[in-house]
Symmetry: C2
Subunit: 207 residues, 2 copies
């Protein structure tokens, strides 16, 4: 049974998708041990409580130095014996010590088709604003392993979403979530939980 | 009736797709007036001849200076009273004088989802090599208007294509052609021929 920590900063709709897909057995052999948020009032923490999942508020703001936060985060993951860290709208850069301790065991969902519209400065609604400003007709979402770059890790899965005439960033964000994110993030977790993928030379292959 | 020039450097499978889709009326109100190639032995020129379309070989190599070639190309387009220039695997950079004379009347097909895997150095098989080297799971093709940058013009249409386990650059190139290029390039021509799109502030909108 793969033990998951889901790290969030906001409403937690991707968290909810994971909870639902564990419940309906779309994801098998995985269990959420803890939800960690850097925002005290993140609705994601409420979702965790409702489903009997441990919740943990941990913010860099509450620590005197960043290394102290980094250590606290790592200790939290170790306490729950986490096998896979799932970044589901987590707006904190994952500390180097955690990336090193969990090589190819941290995954992130990014709301574009990497390498388009990713890297520093591209998060949340800003991604969709940039897609529309470029006049793109296709966008999507990507699940990837996290390495020490921003959105540079091995790509696990991607799904395309078509832009429609009249889209606003908000409308597009919602469509990318519904058509892509809520499907491919659970899909990636299920593959990992069932040992169906491997990383060879930075490329993710199906076994 | 929109008068087209199709510019090619190779086999001309995208040219063939345009010929076929004019024949079966997927494209209406458009006619290919001339096929221009910078390669004397491009099979695309044979395709033109077979279909009774004027063919023209024009290469920078045969001119003492580049401006002389640029002028000859412009004069060829003017001679045929061309309304829309279609770059269908044309590996010559379109001269500035032609870009200026045909603003928003030159379109190009690029075998990736712009802004991924585009710009200088990304053409032909190199695009698909780069997609596989990054481990992308989604790629596709883009039709865009040509401006004075490389692959920076307004995007008319895009189509996603999924990478499959075991793909080689050659296999992926073929799938992108079959599933995307041969559909979206004719589609874009039909939209332009029937006055269905407009460019506002660098963004292509349906009318």
């Amino acid at each position: 049974m793969l033990k998951l920590a889901v790290l969030v900063s906001g409403g937690g709709t991707n968290l909810q998708a994971i909870i639902d897909k564990i419940a309906d057995k779309t994801i098998t052999n995985a269990k959420i041990e803890v939800v960690i948020s850097n925002k005290k009032d993140a609705y994601a923490l409420e979702r965790a409580k409702k489903h009997g999942i441990a919740d943990c508020y941990l913010s860099p703001k509450d620590f005197a130095t960043r290394p102290e936060f980094d250590q606290a985060l790592l200790e939290c993951l170790q306490k729950y014996q986490i096998d896979l860290v799932v970044l589901a709208g987590y707006l904190v850069i994952v500390p180097k010590n955690v990336v090193e301790a969990y090589e190819n065991r941290i995954i992130n969902i990014h709301p574009s088709l990497i390498p388009s519209f990713c890297g520093d400065g591209f998060y949340g609604l800003k991604v969709h604003e940039a897609v529309l400003a470029r006049g793109n007709k296709v966008t999507g979402a990507t699940v990837h392993f996290v390495d020490d770059g921003t959105d540079t890790g091995p790509i696990i899965t991607q799904k395309a979403v078509y832009v429609q005439e009249g889209d606003t960033p908000e409308i597009l964000q919602k469509r990318v979530m519904e058509e892509a994110e809520w499907n491919i993030l659970p899909q990636a977790i299920d593959w990992i939980a069932n040992d169906q993928i491997e990383v060879i030379d930075h490329i993710v292959h199906k076994k």
